[in-house]
């Protein structure tokens, strides 16, 4: 085990996979010579060479399309999208092409393409640089979507993503980049599709992921002092979902809060809420609550951003509300 930041752990996964498989190459804006805007690709060019680590122009649609083609032609490309907000200039490649190719080809063409990116707010980056857009990627079938909440998962899930024969979008959170925690040394792979129970509880389950896992743990601790036992589950992978862990927890606590930073409407929260109520209706002792961003673009000023984005207080309130009604 070593103490590592999420950036270092992400870098370690890229190193691990570059060393392991000559088909892997990493590319994106400023990733090679500069080492990545967020240092995620630091040193890779030096250690793996110019054929494995490549700078691109600011052409997300073009270079994701090229990732698709390269994947079809036998490579295992890892593309960096600097901010997930910029996925919107490449949505056609992501959703009409990358996500659909395997199916449209009748299963004959695998697309082992990984896209690493980051999202999230809380830093005054305003409406176009603070978003969480995982729901857009989940609505149309064909992409796996992964969001680690800590360094060990960043390493292990990214390794699994790169080894997966499907397109996977791996989303870090900018607030977690510097967060240090224990990461297994040597080969470390965390299978996609396994949620992780971060804290056991009996009164209510809080399902969450990414940066809000930490907030959820805070809220759970505070709730405990108020006599409410919160189980916190880090979903980790949103497609595939770990339904077993989800169902087991719901049938234990009978009360559910789902929290994420993205917007409410057509988001992951309402998605999971519906799946739970439609499959486990009789298990529910209270309405499912979803904590999400308010229905407004992310504002710049702190006074406003604090209101729009979820806070530990809102998570706590939802957990207590689920129990006390």
């Amino acid at each position: 085990m070593s103490q590592m930041s999420v950036v270092e752990a992400t870098n370690a996964a890229l190193r691990q996979e570059l060393a392991r498989d000559p088909k892997v190459f990493v590319y994106g804006e400023d990733v090679a010579h500069y080492g990545g805007m967020f240092r995620v690709t630091d040193g890779l060019l030096r250690d793996f060479g110019a054929d494995r680590v490549i700078d691109t122009p600011i052409s997300e649609s073009g270079f994701l399309g090229m990732g698709l083609g390269a994947a079809m032609a036998g490579m295992r490309p890892v593309a960096e999208l600097m901010f997930i907000d910029f996925s919107l200039v490449a949505m056609d490649q992501l959703l009409n092409n990358i996500a659909k190719t395997h199916y449209m080809s009748g299963g004959s063409v695998p697309v082992p393409l990984t896209i690493i990116t980051q999202g999230g707010g809380y830093r005054g980056a305003a409406a176009q640089h603070s978003q969480m857009l995982e729901a857009l990627l989940l609505h149309l079938p064909g992409l796996k979507v992964v969001l680690p909440s800590n360094a060990a998962d960043a390493k292990g899930l990214l390794a699994a993503a790169i080894r997966d024969d499907n397109p996977v979008v791996f989303i870090n959170h900018k607030q977690l980049f510097g967060a240090k925690s224990e990461v297994p040394d040597g080969e470390h792979v965390v299978p996609l599709g396994q949620a992780r129970t971060m804290r056991e509880g009996t009164d209510v389950t809080l399902f969450t992921y990414s940066y809000l896992v930490g907030m959820g743990m805070q809220a759970a601790e505070e709730a405990a002092t108020q006599g409410v036992s919160v189980e916190v589950v880090d979903l980790r992978t949103l497609n595939p979902l770990d339904w077993e862990t989800i169902a087991a927890s719901v049938t234990k606590t009978h009360r559910v809060v789902i929290a994420h930073e993205a917007h409410l409407r057509c988001g992951v929260g309402v998605d999971l809420s519906h799946q739970i109520q439609s499959r486990l209706f009789d298990e529910l002792d209270a309405p499912i609550q979803v904590v999400a961003a308010l229905d407004a673009p992310i504002p710049f000023a702190k006074e406003l951003e604090d209101v729009v984005l979820p806070s530990p207080a809102r998570l706590l309130e939802a957990c207590l509300g689920a129990v006390h009604g």
Binding site: P57, G62, G69, N97, G106
Partner: protein, 312 residues
């Protein structure tokens, strides 16, 4: 191959493509084929010439109108036709359909329903070929109108930047659907636009398979030997509507269509082959008809397959 042999090959290829389209149009008119059908009558010289310049292991991507390139790449006819007809034995098990033909074995990385989108795929395959240090090349086919998709511009720049073994074959048939070049392009010099990105460029009579073959061969050779990408502007015309429900008239004058019909590559090559032509044509048509008969008799996909193969 000698010129005379090539001439026969071109003619066969063009007749085969026309025969396939004739069968498809008949099925569509009879209500036996679902969805839109984008035919390429008048443009057959392009796949014929381009296909002859490629190796089996080279890559191809094309448009919704690109089945001709799939045929010309040399793979067996039955799985292609079966896919267009939505059969279980089709290339994509009936899931993809006409606009989405994939065949890894023959380097077919997709015809594509989104204007311009297939250019990135081919550029990426060219990138892979380069990184793998093979001498494979990638061909992508797009229309004149597709140049107005930003995605294509992005890929043109990257093709030059990385000196990719890529050929962009632009079928300039003067229209994007029903809109003429003059109302879609600020400057109708398509090769000029590509040259502005630094691409090698060439212009060619797209109704002459031999000319297409020559210019393609030059571009392929350049790409194979590290000379970078080429943009080919090919002048051509679809003598039929944009899709099965379009008469092709109204937005185009009857004279214009007639003038281009007179330049039909099939007729030109039939004349070239002289007396040999009818027998060759009959042979190809019969072969196509046989494949259609076989394909039509195949079973459709199992409904249970609908939810499979989303993921590998």
């Amino acid at each position: 191959m000698e010129t005379s042999q090539r001439d026969e090959q071109f003619y066969r290829s063009m007749v085969r493509m026309r025969a396939v389209e004739t069968e498809l149009l008949a099925l569509s008119s009879a209500g036996q084929l679902r969805g839109s059908l984008h035919l390429a009558q008048g443009q057959e010289a392009l796949p014929a010439g381009a296909g002859a310049a490629l190796r089996k292991d080279d890559y191809v991507t094309a448009t919704y109108r690109g089945h001709g390139y799939v045929l010309a790449k040399g793979g067996p006819l039955l799985p292609i036709i079966a896919e267009i007809l939505g059969k279980a034995a089709g290339l994509g098990g009936g899931k993809g359909g006409k606009m989405h033909l994939f065949d890894l074995e023959y380097g077919i990385l997709g015809t594509n329903g989104i204007v311009g989108a297939a250019v990135g795929t081919a550029a990426g395959a060219a990138w892979a070929a380069q990184l793998q240090k093979t001498d494979r090349v990638a061909l992508t086919v797009c229309g004149d109108g597709a140049l107005n998709q930003g995605h294509v511009s992005e890929c043109m720049n990257m093709a030059v930047l990385y000196q990719l073994p890529l050929i962009i074959l632009c079928e300039n048939n003067l229209y994007s659907e029903m809109t003429p070049l003059s109302r879609s392009h600020g400057d109708v010099n398509l090769a000029g636009r590509a040259a502005g990105f630094g691409l090698n460029t060439a212009q060619v009579d797209g109704n002459d398979p031999e000319a297409v073959y020559q210019v393609m061969s030059e571009a392929v050779n350049r790409a194979r030997t590290g000379g970078g990408p080429t943009f080919i502007e090919a002048a051509t015309y679809r003598t039929i509507g944009h899709y099965q429900a379009d008469s092709g008239i109204g937005y185009r004058t009857a004279e214009e269509v007639e003038a281009w019909r007179a330049k039909s590559p099939l007729d030109r090559w039939a004349a070239k082959l002289g007396k040999r032509a009818p027998a060759i044509a009959a042979e190809e048509q019969a072969a196509v008809r046989a494949v259609f008969e076989e394909a039509l008799a195949l079973p459709g996909p199992d409904p249970l397959a609908a939810g499979t193969q989303v993921f590998a």
